[in-house]
Symmetry: C2
Subunit: 318 residues, 2 copies
């Protein structure tokens, strides 16, 4: 039986922070990243690809703001903007992957799903919005919008009088279409799903699906998806090749293998950057705890080498 | 064996011309439209839902323009804008349909696919762009952009010195993921696909999938999809309940039934509005010619009544 892997593309896989965000840049980065997945496909893996949407949905939010300002076009809520970004990015990944596979003479079907991800409306995250989205406003503008729309703002430390909307980042508790994803991937189709952590929705008291003005951590949603479809392995492709402990100290140590208990211990000791590596480690551990065999954190181009990245498993292997 | 129907939602199914385009309006219209599909589901139909994207992709294009103007965010090409609209609209339809089915105690899985549709790069439509997209420019602006980006403009008859970009509307020749759509729908899943006529792509001389700066007629793509998945029936839901011949003359006649040959004859006689009803008739006839059993043109709310709409079949039924 073939192995199923969920691959979460993030960081500079699609768009680097130093780039303007043109479609040419995005297509080139995406192709470079996807080239590396060929190694996994040749090894016999069936793949589900998830992806971040930070820069893209940021741009969509800014365009909504500008469109209202100049043309009085009603702004779309956050859920629609995330859904838009799934369409655009998912299509781009699918098209570039079709071309990469063609180049390597690999014949596989690829399909892109628009994915809703369930959160709980009483998730404590709703009491404390933390995730910055959209444009930077002046204090005066922020006050005005807060009054009009009920948005919550936090100061942006990077510039004077800069305020950004913050939204909650609740925990994903269910993936819509998970059975469809599992069926398709086990039939040999590459599935692109749960982009940007999924479109956040919750079930209200009348059992209706309602949009949630929130964003879900992409790695957390991807980890849950991996568990729900009974994937064997979960990969987070990011901008570092390995996880380190005691990073930047004389005791700095690159970790090629980590077991569950040691990783929990390092996490509790604050060995991993809170806003950055710690959420990735949590996502990897969650996958293992729920029965997944192996989580991997690495850079895309490391996939060509069997010794790539940091492997997290329940126990150290001999 | 259950019957499969492809339902193309268009016109005022999602957003009426007299509305501002807020998300509340769109969600309400969508729910009202989808309520009517319950009749078909209760009759045992398996459904594929396609949809237009005119107002939505128009707004996305305008926001791209505004975002570049105010925030210098690079504009996305037309294919990405169409893909974005598939994500946002597809998600909205899926979520509203989940709630409609829940209300009626119908338990069915629903999935939304981001769909590329193949065109031929030497389609004669590329010689004569006809489809107006995006904002209205002044002649001076249009000249400048034509020089910079190579866009083609035509005068907008509705206002003085108003120019709009025109893009080709090539014929769809293939639907990506058609086998996936067919498999899912025959397993009982409702599939939302080919939104906005699909993201237009073509295969270049090196067998790569490339984006096409074009838009595909939604009814034409939906008709092709219906044929490719061997659907039994094809419905175009629009803003008229019936097709008429000699419309607006003393000989005006409402047609509840039409056979293939008579419809071709009426079409050749120019009985149907060129920019409006004629393309819908063409899409219906194409479906019949390729072996489909029945095409229907009507309004969504007519679906509750067995005698709804204009039915086009190869031969008149007794």
């Amino acid at each position: 039986m073939k192995k199923v892997a969920v691959i979460a593309l993030g960081g500079n896989a699609l768009l680097r922070g130093d780039q303007a965000g043109t479609i040419d840049e995005q297509e080139q980065n995406t192709t470079d990243t996807l080239e590396n997945l060929v190694h996994l496909i040749r090894e016999g893996y069936e793949l589900v690809i998830t992806h971040g949407n930070g820069p893209q949905v940021g741009n969509i939010l800014m365009r909504n703001d500008a469109g209202e300002m100049i043309y009085k076009i009603p702004q779309m809520p956050l859920d629609i903007c995330v859904a838009d970004s799934q369409g655009g990015i998912g299509y781009m990944i699918e098209r570039m992957l079709r071309n990469v596979l063609k180049k390597h003479n690999i014949d596989k079907e690829i399909v892109t799903l628009v994915t809703q991800v369930l959160v709980e409306n009483d998730d404590p995250a709703f009491q404390e919005p933390t995730k910055r989205v959209g444009k930077i406003y002046s204090g005066e503008e922020a006050d005005k919008i807060a009054g009009e729309k009920g948005w919550i703002f936090k100061e942006d430390k990077k510039r004077a009088d800069g305020w950004r909307r913050v939204v909650p980042s609740p925990k994903p508790v269910g993936i819509m279409n998970e059975r469809v994803v599992e069926t398709l991937v086990r039939q040999g189709t590459i599935v692109i799903a749960a982009g940007g952590g999924g479109i956040p929705v919750y079930i209200d008291e009348e059992q209706r699906v309602r949009p949630s003005e929130a964003v879900i951590d992409k790695d957390s949603a991807s980890s849950l998806l991996a568990s729900q479809i009974n994937a064997d392995e979960f990969y987070i492709l990011t901008d570092v090749s390995y996880v380190y402990i005691n990073y930047g100290t004389p005791q700095e140590e690159k970790k090629e293998f980590l077991n569950y208990n040691d990783t929990v211990k390092y996490l509790e000791q604050g060995m991993f950057g809170e806003g950055d590596m710690a959420p990735k480690i949590h996502a990897c551990l969650d996958f293992i705890k729920r029965g997944g065999r192996k989580s991997v954190i690495t850079e895309a181009f490391k996939l060509e080498d069997k010794s790539y990245g940091t492997k997290i498993t329940m126990e150290y292997e001999d």
